[in-house]
């Protein structure tokens, strides 16, 4: 449900001309939701940016997520 909740917010932000991108943990669900942009990550639910307390690795994911927009 998390994917759907954020995808719905994404839809209305995009329709108000705010650019969006989301993390996709389960691509089967993301593909059904059809958001404008997403970054597929190889992690499990509960760990959207990978291992905890790994700031630099997490930041790389955030940077990749931003890069999907431009």
């Amino acid at each position: 449900m998390c994917h759907q909740t954020v995808s719905l917010v994404q839809k209305f932000c995009e329709e108000n001309y705010i650019s969006c991108s989301m993390i996709s943990i389960i691509d089967e669900i993301t593909n059904k939701l059809n958001p404008k942009r997403f970054l597929s990550v190889p992690y499990s639910l509960g760990f959207p940016l990978g291992e905890i307390n790994q700031f630099e690795n997490q930041k790389k994911i955030v940077k990749q997520l931003l890069k999907t927009i431009q």
């Binding site: 209305f12 705010i18 650019s19 639910l45 509960g46 760990f47 431009q70």
Partner: protein, 167 residues
Amino acid sequence: MIKINKSKKISHLSFKIKKFLQFYPWKDCAPNQFKSLDKKISDCNVAIVSSAGFVIKNKQKPFDINDKFGDSSYRVIPSNINSNELEEYQKSNSFDHSGIKTDPFSALPIPHLVDLYNKGFIGSVNPRHISLMGANINTSKLIKKSIPDIVQIFKEDKVDIVLFIPV
């Protein structure tokens, strides 16, 4: 250290959850209109929406984890929040909550954005971010009440980019 299953497929979930997700009537969230970003990311104001169900401890009302349709309300989290001020109220039993409890910023990466701002990769970190509890089955309240408020907050703050972090 917590071992993370590298699978991102639906197949790693339990049979019961997998069946539920396979037959769930997912909403089509493709925007009907949109605009391509017309400035550099290094000039953009960036905000986050997380579905981890964080509230500010002792200051904000917890999400209702007993609402069987899911609590569709939202909380505003300021950029200057400390991780020990965040408390998680996520009712979903489909994932391991230990990671976001131990490292809340792994699902609300504000310090990561601050670092990217300090390095000039983004233009600014929005002072307000949004926390939702993702386990919403009935989305009508979310769509009618919370989402218009959230969009208004981002418009008031002149947000250019929103990053979405489902858990």
